[in-house]
Symmetry: C2
Subunit: 326 residues, 2 copies
């Protein structure tokens, strides 16, 4: 069996995670990393070569799947369709509201180029989406709940950092225990935003900054904090660097439904992640295997996790999977 | 859109559960129930008709999917291949060791008849299998744990009931909390059978039975109890009927692995079921939808949950799913 030849576009947290995840999968091999920076300045962990992103087209016969590791705001809306003209691709596009239009944009190109493109892979969208789907398909009478955390939110941390006088900030999203317990008990509660999650900020300020004013600005910030109960802790730079530079995350999807004689039936899927980006990378690499296999089988066009049988994610054969894991 | 026309073979706990689950799914309709008993003696909950199992062939153009609700020991090894000659079928065959041969037997017939047959659907095998697969595909470096319970084990309850002097018996399988906690903490422990699960029996004896002797027979019973710590409670018939006639079950599949810089990453899927057979029924009905759609799309042969994209389980269109659930 020949290895699946993989390329990485973008070498930030996600790209580095993908590089490592590939090393955990003996049926895959990293061919090259593509970057917008000067390749000479980009040091990578493996023996693969680094190229300018504009050189990627030359690799169209040397790379089976291109893993796109850019951001959802500006990189992927442009890169996913662009690279689909030459490559099978996978991305982790996670702007929920724009998924339908991203899907259409990628599908149009991938249908024409006869390549396979999986979009919005990862854990949410991704594994959590799968569990939302199967929960309601199996128990059509019931309610679905998604809780996130405990986890670092990059977007909220950035929002706090933009406040004048803030030097460093980490914002954690915390599911509220009482709400989770009620859901796990099958109470099917109606929960407001404030009842589901709380927010906690750990902030380092510039010398002489007005902490009372900063705290007020945080807790009242529209869209980000005003609908939540938010706790703000001001700490030293040392404490910040010791305790708040990791990127933990996780959460749970719970489907609470009923069957036949009104019995409560509860499904729960949960993740406890010490590194959010490295876990997303691991998901991308498993789904890259599915991209490759679908293309080998003559498939084409844009797909999501909903379209992918789990068997395609594993290096094992269908017969091995039935024997060992069913 | 025309409804999916469903037939049920076998009207025990599972068949009754399937009948109810169909009523929760507006795109499905129950056409008929087939039984080995005298149809006149079988009262069912819905308006569907009851027929002798030997009359099923006549319905081959009137039923899209036949849901086989027999047992794995003797019914399904015979029925699943047999009905595959005329129908798309789904079963919940759960004798893990014999799945490969069952798959081959069904596949041979279904390939010839150009029907689709999903075997071994349910929660274990089934949903738990899917989570074992995706856990190791995403985190190839790690360990997978399956715990069952708290749940009633029919097989173990029957084994206790066969002991002389026992009138009623219910046996619960209990995951051992300390073991579960160690796994959830990412310790990746090596656990013996005894360290993973305990067994608890609630027993009603005949008048004058020797309870000490019965207890000794239970806890030393080879294959069933000797490798576990087992607690035996002798109770009255009233207490038994009040508290031990339900069929709760559940459990969890945990994958504890590591990514990039040795971060612990933990996936957990859990079920808490008030009715084990009714939940299995709900799973069968969702997968029956996939059977129908695969056949509509020209597919054929035996499949397992590993071969089925989740999107096929939902009545919603692919575009709706992407918009609402991704």
């Amino acid at each position: 069996m020949t290895n699946i030849r993989v390329g990485i576009v973008g070498y930030g947290n996600l790209g580095r995670g993908v590089e490592h995840a590939i090393s955990q999968n003996p049926d895959m091999e990293l061919v090259a990393v593509f970057t917008r920076r000067d390749p000479a300045t980009v040091e990578i962990a493996s023996d693969a070569k680094v190229y300018l992103i504009d050189e990627a087209e030359k690799f169209k016969d040397a790379i089976d799947v291109m893993i796109l590791c850019g951001g959802s705001a500006t990189d992927l809306p442009e890169q996913s369709p662009h690279f689909s003209q030459w490559f099978n691709v996978i991305d982790s596009f996670d702007t929920h509201a724009k998924i339908p239009q991203h899907f259409e944009a990628v599908d149009t190109i991938a249908q024409k180029s006869e390549k396979v493109a999986i979009i919005s892979s990862g854990w949410d969208p991704g594994l959590f989406s799968l569990n939302r789907l199967i929960g309601e398909a199996i128990l059509p009478v019931g309610s679905t709940y998604t809780f996130w955390g405990d986890g670092l939110s990059q977007g909220h941390s950035d929002a706090v950092r933009r406040i004048e006088g803030v030097k460093y900030a980490a914002q954690y999203t915390l599911p509220i225990k009482e709400a989770v317990e009620r859901v796990r008990n099958g109470e099917n509660p109606v929960l407001s935003t404030r009842e589901k999650h709380a927010r906690e900020c750990w902030v380092v300020v510039e010398d002489g900054a007005d902490t009372a004013k900063i705290e007020q600005e945080i807790v009242t910030m529209p869209n980000y904090f005003d609908e939540y109960n938010t706790t703000v802790h001001f700490i030293t730079e040392e404490e910040f660097k010791a305790n708040h530079t990791g990127m933990p995350h996780g959460g749970f999807v719970i489907r609470s439904g009923e069957s036949g004689a009104k019995e409560k039936q509860i499904l729960e899927f949960s993740l406890k992640l010490e590194s959010n980006p490295n876990f997303t990378s691991s998901v991308l690499v498993a789904y890259a295997r599915a991209v490759y296999r679908l293309h080998q089988a003559g498939d084409k066009g844009a797909k999501t996790a909903f379209d992918i049988p789990f068997g395609l994610l594993s290096p094992k054969s269908a017969a091995e999977l039935r024997k060992e894991l069913l």
